[in-house]
Amino acid sequence: MKTNKMRVLSIPYIVWIIGFTLIPLLFVVMRAVTDPKGGFTLANLFAIFDPIHRKALILSLLLAFISSVICIIISYPAALILKASRFSNKKIMIFVLILPMWMNFILRMLSIQMLISKNGLINNLLEIFGMNKMSLINTPYAIILGMVYDYLPYMMLPILNCVLAIPDDMIEASKDLGANRWYVLTKIMIPLSLTGIGSGVTMVFVPSMTEFVIANLLGGGKIQLLGNIIEQEFSVSMNWNLGSGLSVMLMIFVLITTLVFGRTASQTDRGFVI
């Protein structure tokens, strides 16, 4: 089955990749290593280490990291619960997780903004019950909330895939050999679902790193992530060379993370398979 003839089938795709992924990327790299007058420079790349950019980069990394961790913390128990219950209908779960994406992303973020704003629905509810209002909006925590909301399915699905695929008798075997629940979780379940967690982390971490719309809508414009700076370089400051340079550096950071997590992540285990 694995014949040369079959490999030929991917030629249209290879042409497509070259035509619409690599060449456009080349344009960005070209801009990144030139100044506005067209001369060669590496300044746009090293600009990532300017204090402001460095700060944004660190904040982006931090928020992306925290969002990923929270997504894991929410998803893993859910996967365990679904595995334990006889009802482990993956199809329905995927459906439940993907459906919210059919509401426009900007509308969903606006909706979260309305829920958590100072005078918003949740605060009004808290007030009715005589509790203290929370001030979440326009803080980094609000951005984390938005990211977790938007990217949770990307973490949940691969983890679910992996955990459900662990054979029951492997768990029984470990119990048989004397393992208690905690031991089963740490020594069997988690090691066996690392690939799922790995792909989940790449799927959450990467878009969190490059995000700017969530930061704008929920951060009140007070919090600058690297994505915001790149967006501003392109659309406000009109310094496309700097924007490209920062983008290329961002890509390199993203690549490093995916290589780190990708070692554990199985490439095809992205969890969208119904």
Partner: protein
């Protein structure tokens, strides 16, 4: 038992978390008020009106056509690609997967701009360019969904079919495809979802007149999302919900019958038929929608491509103009002058007419991007108040290039119930008195303007020390600021999330409409007076048509319709004269000469000052 119910509660909480925001949006679709922060009772009218809204419906058609077409093509390319990749050696397999992941790993904005830079060299941007971009980011989802199914597939079946005399194509269709179909369908579904949800890439690669729901919504944030949009989104959501439930029931039905092989086979075949039928229906629908969109685009005769701020012109007027003159308008929108400049100067779309703000006009005129206009050729130009020739001097000293459209001031919109007495100075923003209750403009120029005016300097100062002083002031102020917004500042004050906000005068009128406790003031230290005007770009081939359009905009009935569409100050004297008294007396609608005496119009900066601004602004935001 306790563990099990705890588990159920946990899952329920996750579902509430995911669906609460959706519920809010669906609720909003029943809100009688046009503002999302005011509840005016239950209504179904938006569900009726959405179908009459030409702009939303055409954007909806484009969105669906785009999603279905791009996903279908992505499915074809992706399926073959997956087969090819699957057959590759391990090293090539890895390399291909790496490239497949690039669109997923890249920041959307980079992908969008990169594609725009490249595609514009190949052909003029339009529906096709967006389609190509969507296919590009859809293929990876298809491949990543199909590959696992391929790995799990039983190739002996394929070989058995070959053995029984089937051609490899026939064997593939009859034997392999049914096994891969679930993966392919999942990929298709993911691709449609992603395509529908994308904003950034669409925004950068779309051509004139092409609007999707996402780009439409983004443009609407500024003036408030139209309730029809909530209605449409809710309908779409429910539709998908129903489709998915039906598909799930069909599939579950099939699963339940698994014990009976023969029946399963039959079931599967009928299920396949059903799915294929559904597929074809969706395709037919999208083809029909495409045809509709195509019809719109293929009108013969003269065309004009017009670039304006979003929600800045009554769409009825565009239809009216076409009806009167036979000239077709491709209407494009953007939210900030910088965005307009980026799109315009990239040459991605050849705009004929462009309406933007003073300092950006200056920049464009200086760069030679504007054509001279003979104002005497515009019959209705006599409606424009002559004082605007004077006010426009900073960017169009001889009145050769521009036609004023709207104007106004920047001031403070505040809640009179929450302040001690009337606000009349920028001081209230910097004194710390309303700590945590202030909204500043998320625009470099406007924020600096506030600080510079407060310090008593000109807002056009090029003195580095003065600019740095203003920047320091803004940095110190940051901890007092609740948020920096462009778009929803007005709504936030209406909703009571902040006491005061720096806004454009036009926003103030609508704010007052929703909440009568709100008042607007141009602080006594002076402020920015802005004039948004039209220019005819150097791209324009049909200047006569462009002049006709400008003349049309200056006509009393048209100017009045546009005024009533957004309630910004109009320079059209005929409109002003026919206004109601209370409108005339509203300082947000007609600023008094007294209130604007210390106001200045923005001038364009030189390179050095622009850079200084950019750097300082970044510092402030990163503080």
């Amino acid at each position: 038992m306790i563990g099990r119910s705890l588990g159920k509660i946990y899952m329920a909480l996750i579902i509430v978390f995911l669906y609460l925001p959706i519920l809010v949006l669906i609720t909003l679709s029943f809100n009688a008020s046009r503002s999302r922060v005011v509840w005016n009772g239950f209504t179904l009218k938006w569900y009726r009106e959405v179908f009459e809204n030409h702009v939303i419906m055409s954007a909806f058609g484009t969105t669906i056509a785009l999603a279905v077409l791009s996903s279908l093509i992505a499915c074809f390319i992706g399926l073959f690609a997956a087969l090819g990749i699957f057959a590759m050696k391990k090293r090539d397999y890895r390399i291909m997967l790496f490239f497949t992941n690039i669109p997923l790993l890249n920041a959307d904005i980079v992908t969008g701009i990169a594609l725009m830079l490249w595609l514009v060299r190949l052909f003029p941007l339009g529906f096709t360019s967006v389609l190509i971009s969507h296919i590009t980011f859809n293929i990876p989802y298809v491949i990543l969904c199909v590959l696992p199914k391929l790995e799990a597939a039983d190739f002996h079946q394929f070989e058995a079919a070959r053995d029984l005399g089937a051609s490899s194509f026939h064997a593939f269709i009859k034997v392999m495809l049914p096994d891969l179909l679930p993966g392919l369908l999942a990929g298709f579904f993911m691709a449609v979802t992603m395509s529908m949800d994308d904003f950034v890439i669409t925004y950068f690669t779309k051509g004139p007149g092409v609007n999707t729901l996402s780009t439409l919504i983004y443009g609407e944030i500024k003036k408030g999302i139209k309730p029809e949009m909530y209605a449409l989104s809710s309908l779409l959501f429910l539709l998908v919900l129903i489709i998915l439930i039906v598909v799930n029931i069909l599939m579950a039905d099939q699963d339940n019958k698994k014990d009976n092989m023969e029946r399963t086979q039959i079931r599967r075949r009928t299920l396949m038929k059903k799915i294929v039928l559904l597929f074809m229906m969706v395709c037919a629908l999208s083809a029909a929608l495409c045809a509709c969109a195509g019809n719109n685009a293929s009108d013969e005769g003269t065309e004009l491509t017009v670039f304006n701020y979003s929600e800045y012109l009554d769409p009825e007027m565009i239809a009216k103009f076409t009806k009167e003159t036979g000239i077709k308008i491709n209407y494009e929108e953007a939210t900030t002058p910088e965005e307009m400049y980026t799109k315009f100067s990239s040459g991605a779309i050849s705009y004929d007419l462009l309406c933007t703000s003073d300092y950006m006009l200056k920049r464009l005129i200086d760069e030679g991007r504007a054509q001279e206009i003979d104002r005497s050729a515009i019959a209705n130009y006599s409606n424009i108040d002559p004082k605007f020739s004077d006010l426009s001097k900073s960017f169009d000293p001889d009145g050769k290039y521009t036609v004023p459209y709207f104007w106004g001031t920047v001031g403070i919109l505040y809640n009179t119930k929450e302040t001690d007495g009337p606000v009349d100075s920028w001081d209230d923003l910097f004194s710390g008195k309303y700590r945590g209750n202030i909204i500043m403009q998320d625009s470099m120029r406007d924020s600096f303007m506030v600080a510079l005016k407060y310090l008593g300097y000109s807002l056009n100062t090029k003195d580095e020390a003065q600019i740095r002083e203003a920047a320091q002031l803004l940095k110190d102020q940051k901890s007092d600021v609740e948020s920096y917004l462009v778009d929803e500042a007005r709504d936030e004050v209406v909703a009571g999330n902040a006491v005061m906000a720096v806004v454009y005068s036009g926003e103030a009128y609508l704010g007052h409409e929703y909440n009568e406790d709100l008042a607007y003031v141009v602080p006594k230290e002076g402020s920015n007076l802005w004039i948004d005007s039209w220019i005819v770009t150097d791209n324009c081939k049909n200047k006569d048509a462009a002049v006709k359009f400008l003349d049309f905009l200056c006509r009393e009935d048209v100017a009045n319709a546009n005024f009533e569409y957004i309630y910004y100050s109009t320079p059209n004297t005929a409109v002003v004269q026919s206004m109601d008294e209370d409108l005339k007396n509203d300082p947000a609608i007609i600023p008094s000469d007294d209130s604007i005496k210390d106001c200045e119009v923005y001038e364009a900066f030189d390179e050095k000052t622009t850079q200084l601004y950019n750097e300082l602004w970044k510092e402030i935001k990163a503080e």
